[in-house]
Symmetry: C3
């Protein structure tokens, strides 16, 4: 959608230096920008290349002075954020028409609010509900009594087991599985065989959560698995039963959280991290990629980075690595 | 299904202390239990809270004495196991009617036994067979000549490549892929290019196996990949070609087994463990989360826990960590 | 398809010693071979067992002399390669008839070239194209404007997001997701909330790439994610946005590559390796299983094996492990 720079500046709360009537319709990186694109810089050293790019205008921090430049500038406190918001605004999809594809199979008791889109061959079972403006991708299977809020995007071939609830503006990428059985068995001490512990709890995913492609989130065993507002989860992540993930948590790809782990608000978790059962990661901690937290441990330290298996503060871990390297060099001289 | 406590006690082999006519219809955790629910305790310290919960009755070990309590008690040798069995019995799904959804595509030569349920849009190809009381989820693709036993539950959007065989009571969660090509190539030393080594072997999954959501199990290259009776596999696990997994093995989420690995009976494998090609894990060994077993190694030790990469007995590994921490503290003083 | 040994020898460029008219129709391992099968040996110590197997003929290196043996020999420079080629030739599927299953949903503006096969319930959206002799599996969702080359095999339940391009002879296994949104957010420093950074770039997969079951490949954020010619990727691998993977790279299962990582040609990457953002793995390096490469690192060394987290040359790593074990033993004696 074409917008004048005046409109964009107003929308993102930026100060406009330059031609208010110039129009943009998209965003790009500096190296690929063409006329009609917005670009951004959050580092003054990149301002020159942004100004000499093919873009129509540049969102920048307040480091360039406010004089007229080769291109219009939109000066923002948080230029990357302003760029993200401008992009979302310029690139928003056309309003979705209410459209349930003829090949979709929607149970008579399922409830679709206004402007819901249901893709080819999607299945929506008895008692499920989908809120306004949400879309269900092709091939999805939405189980019995699942509740999906408004403005959600459920991409193709997602499976949601019965009874899970999703808030508003939740995005679920293709192939994800939500609400599957947790991994819980009881071993019969007489026969040595494993029998299934009941996996009959709930899954609650709150507003503004995003879940990556082919990730899996198990429902609670007897109680609930919960992912709270604003948390972002990458691809191929595993969330076990009874896990409780706080608000505004970020979890990178291929990380796994075992049963009953608790992750408090604002935690940042790298890729391939392993969090064992009953662990508690307290608010604001940061777990480096591939770190491992053993069963029942508590990780505490706002803004502290932990690394290694078992995870320890990264400064300690790096000192240990340095000590070991030094001792090894010395022992060469033996 | 409602059952009297007398019926439940008899079914699970427990001693009933209290009102034999009271009825239960479900199970719950202590904190969420309501009237009609069974709860369990396997730790005497939790008995009080179970007795003061909303539950109708409590399955407990024989640690509380046998006098009448505030609630009926069902005293069992293995209370967690008795609870799991009671849950399975009370919560069993209604008998499945033979029901092949009109949108399913079942080849004329596919054979469905009595009481098979086939979900919406499932595809069952030529020569495949599905045993009594098994259900095939919506969107599944069951390849040519696949054999599925009786009482199996194949959840939605599962893909099974041609020729795989599954025993009885096998559970496969949504999105899993069974029988895919193994990862085998031959590099042409003249061109440096990789060419596909034939991946034409079989996949055999025995009775009572459960496979988690989005896990992948490759078929053999020339021979067979086998998962034996009673083994339980969590989500996002990878099983490579020609792997042989024994009976009653437990494998937690995101673990990977490379080609031709052998895992003997009763092994327990934590999450995110990496098992390289041609490794042998001998009977009863325990691999801690994130441990790594290098190519061709043999891990031996019934009941011994191994940890780290390369994996070693956990006592050694912990001593090494302690040594390193101590040396690092000292070197600070340098 | 039955072929005489003369035909096979000619096709793979081997020297035939023995009955040129004997026929083979398949391949097998030595232990499972029957009449009509080809087997191979690339180690002279296995020649005896190959000769006494049930196979009709043996592909071997030039280590057995050229006298007549108990079975016909096909002597090749690279016997494993000759075997792989013979297998591909003998086992090739019958020519695919143009066949779009009646249940598939192909948009009017999608373009299917000659001899394209489209499986049950597959969806091919507006503007997509599929080249000659390619097949699209059951349940696949091929997004708007996706371009798929010729002789591709897209297995069942694969999702390809809009605009991705695949070259010729690309194989994608079941459940893989190609072109999903990358994991990029901007945190609003005022509210602490994460907002989505635009994920609107492209995904380009070149000729002869193979991608394993349930793997996920994100499209670029603003630019492109690229996987170059001949690269082979195993199951459950994650490729983040803006990643650039070179030619003839091999990536084993469950490895993850974070945003903007670069992997040059001929790199070999083991399973469960973690490659952080903006890493560069230079040509010909080898990363051992579970190794981890921290953000922005450059790994250099043709033919050098790296291991550990953070990854270092394996010789160093093994020395460090030995040093630590030695120091730990000594400290026992304290």
């Amino acid at each position: 959608m074409k917008r004048t720079l005046r409109e964009v500046a107003e929308y993102v709360g930026a100060i406009l230096i330059g031609d208010a009537h110039a129009e943009v319709a998209g965003v790009a990186s500096i190296r690929s920008a063409n006329a009609g694109d917005l670009v951004f810089v959050d580092d003054r050293r990149l301002l020159e290349s942004a100004l000499s790019s093919g873009a129509t205008a540049v969102i920048a921090g307040d480091f360039g002075g406010r004089q007229l430049q080769a291109k219009p500038l939109l000066i923002a406190d948080q230029p990357r954020l302003a760029f993200a918001r401008a992009a979302a605004w310029l690139l928003q999809e056309n309003p979705i028409l209410t459209s349930v594809h003829a090949s979709a199979i929607v149970a008579p008791t399922a409830q679709l609010e206004n402007c819901v889109s249901v893709g080819e061959r999607a299945v929506i079972r008895e008692g499920a509900s989908v809120g306004e403006n949400s879309s269900i991708g092709a091939g999805c299977v939405i189980g019995r009594d699942v509740k999906i809020g408004r403005d959600c995007r459920i991409h193709s071939n997602v499976t949601i087991y019965p009874g899970a609830t999703l808030g508003d503006r939740v995005i679920v990428h293709a192939g994800a599985v939500l609400g599957s059985d947790g991994f819980g068995y009881v071993r019969d001490s007489k026969t040595g065989r494993y029998e299934k512990f009941p996996q009959i709890g709930r899954l609650e995913i709150e507003d503004d959560v995003e879940i990556g492609a082919n990730s899996t989130v198990d429902r609670g065993a007897l109680d609930v698995t919960r992912i709270r507002r604003g948390t972002k989860i990458d691809n191929l992540v595993h969330v076990g039963h009874n896990v409780d993930i706080g608000e505004d948590v970020v979890i990178a790809a291929q990380t796994g959280l075992s049963g009953s782990a608790v992750v408090e608000d604002n935690v940042i978790i790298g890729g391939q991290v392993g969090i064992a059962d009953h662990v508690r990661i307290e608010s604001g901690a940061i777990l480096g990629a591939q770190s491992g937290i053993p069963s029942k441990k508590v990780i505490r330290g706002k803004g502290v980075v932990f690394w290694g298996t078992p995870a320890r503060p990264i400064k300690e871990y790096l000192k240990e690595l340095a000590t070991l390297a030094k001792l090894t060099r010395h022992s060469k001289g033996d």
